[in-house]
Symmetry: C2
Subunit: 301 residues, 2 copies
DNA sequence: CCGAAATTTTGTCCTAGACAAATTATCCAT
DNA sequence: ATGGATAATTTGTCTAGGACAAAATTTCGG
């Protein structure tokens, strides 16, 4: 199998490292060291792309690029798994069961996973299913990906199948017609949608009128949509992977674009290290989100 | 409502125009003409971002940026709707009914839309539902967006609700365990997933073993996933919006990464202007995809 | 040992030039 | 006129190296 070289645009796509970063690393650290094609343009061998992916993965765990690049490849793979952020401790004996579910994905047996989850849903009911099964599973998948025991495509399969389960469950609920009306979406560059679906499930269970717009809405469009749908609340989700430095600016910009009477809620693992912002409600956990819903209803009789 | 200015990164996110393009337009055409902040960095007023979005929309219809930028804003909005590519002629009297469905979205009555579509699905059966309802609807939504009668968030709502319907329908099918095993996904930067879902519905109906990996898989990962899942066919989808020039290179790169025995199928509106490629099957229509499936089965007894 | 100040690291933005691929215009021969 | 080759334009992407601010780390003083 003869693997071709990658242009800088292809590497950006596949690694998530911007062209600027790729060039500045080359200048500063001497890595990556792409060949040049006939036009003098960078051409990255697959092997270097691979190493860049590994480095990116370790960076998402809190490591720093300068150190990583100075480290030999063998050591790098050893580093995987030793995340710098402490793991959440397993809640109880349930841990075993969750592990078994993940094993099904790992064995690439999607059908068995779906069936097992259907059973859990039936047994636990939607609310506990979301909070006690889906949320911890998602966390564990993230960890498994970080330590290399899950491939990216395993994560994709997990996400896709779980999304289906949630959407199906939501579809069986009676259509919420009561206030508040909640618009659920995410900003451009934020494609993770599982958290949004979990929130929707919980809100819909409480009878709220949910408007799911999917992911990646431009800011100005979110503002328009909020007006057009006369929404009471705009709920956004930020994953851990989302660039931290942008979140605060983004939320404040959005706040100014939204009608003043609309509340702005932000949730997801991405906002946990954030300080408070004017006019924005930060809701790192589902419990807080549900409490906020109750509060809203108390304040709007 | 005091609308803030946008940094160049925010404009790239919201318009889909790369930083390079934004800068080179400014140099060449004098537009956009952002202010500069205290650090000498570009700061785009919301009004210019708006105009850039309009221009991008017209470009997707086949107009050229040089002309568009030279044109006054009033004329621009007049241009919308006069697409340069001819519209597909409406099939029959059904057109009315599809229009009615779109009107429900336009009135922001998601619940009514879902209910109407459920009825259609029950009446038509999944195969005809996909080919005669969902596919033409998707096309009409694209047209409505181009001529400005649909907002972006209308399109998002349509997409989200329709995705739910399809996934729900797929979930009710018996799990396909027979060959071929088909891996369905899309490349990075290609987030449209409706076409993929329609294809999955049709393939699953034929009893194929579908592995849905969602959108945005890096090339090398697609290769790995194909090996790990021992897939017979890798099916990709390209929307019209996907940059044409990249598709051919991308497909050929992917071909080299895939196991030789795995077939590579590409579908979607994005590949219709493409010429044939070695080792890749181009399937612009669902009928051709179904025919290809029959062919594959005939060749693999 | 803790908190403030100095230092290093790192990502993003800047300018301005170059070039190839795609598109459109021109021209010649049939 | 019409088809087809050639020339001119348009357009996106790439290159180089410099600059700077925010974040993270280290050093220093109490």
């Amino acid at each position: 199998m003869n693997i071709p070289d990658f242009g800088i645009a292809a590497v950006e796509r596949d690694t998530g490292l911007s062209k600027d970063v790729l060039r500045v690393w080359e200048r500063r650290y001497g890595f990556p060291a792409p060949c040049r094609d006939a036009n003098g343009e960078r051409s990255y061998p697959a092997e270097q792309v691979e190493r860049l992916r590994l480095i990116k993965r370790l960076m998402d765990q809190g490591h720093r690029p300068g150190k990583l690049i100075a480290t030999a490849t063998e050591e790098l793979s050893g580093l995987a798994g030793r995340s710098l952020v402490p793991r959440a401790a397993g809640e109880n004996g349930e841990v075993e069961q969750l592990g078994a579910l993940l094993a099904l994905i790992k064995q690439r047996d999607g059908a068995a996973y779906q069936q097992a989850m259907q059973q859990r849903l039936a047994r636990q009911g939607l609310q506990r299913f979301v909070q006690d099964s889906v949320a911890p599973l998602t966390r564990r998948v993230g960890e498994a990906w970080e330590d290399g025991s899950f491939e990216i495509f395993d994560e994709h399969l997990f996400t896709e199948l779980t999304k289906r389960l949630l959407r199906q469950a939501i579809a069986t609920l009676p259509v919420g017609r009561s206030r508040p009306r909640i618009l659920l979406t995410s900003v451009p560059d934020e494609q993770h949608v599982l958290g949004l679906l979990m929130a929707e499930a919980l809100f819909a269970l409480e009878g709220a009128d949910c408007i799911p717009l999917g992911a990646q809405m431009p800011l100005l469009e979110i503002g328009r949509a909020a007006s057009a749908h006369r929404t009471d609340i705009v709920a956004l989700s930020f994953s851990v992977a989302f660039p931290q430095r942008q979140i605060a600016v983004l939320l404040q910009q959005l706040r100014m674009v939204l009608p003043p009477e609309a509340a702005l809620w932000a949730g997801g693992a991405g906002i946990q290290r954030l300080v408070k912002l004017d006019g924005v409600d930060l809701l790192p956990t589902f419990d807080m989100a549900l409490a906020a819903l109750a509060d809203w209803r108390a304040a709007h009789p």
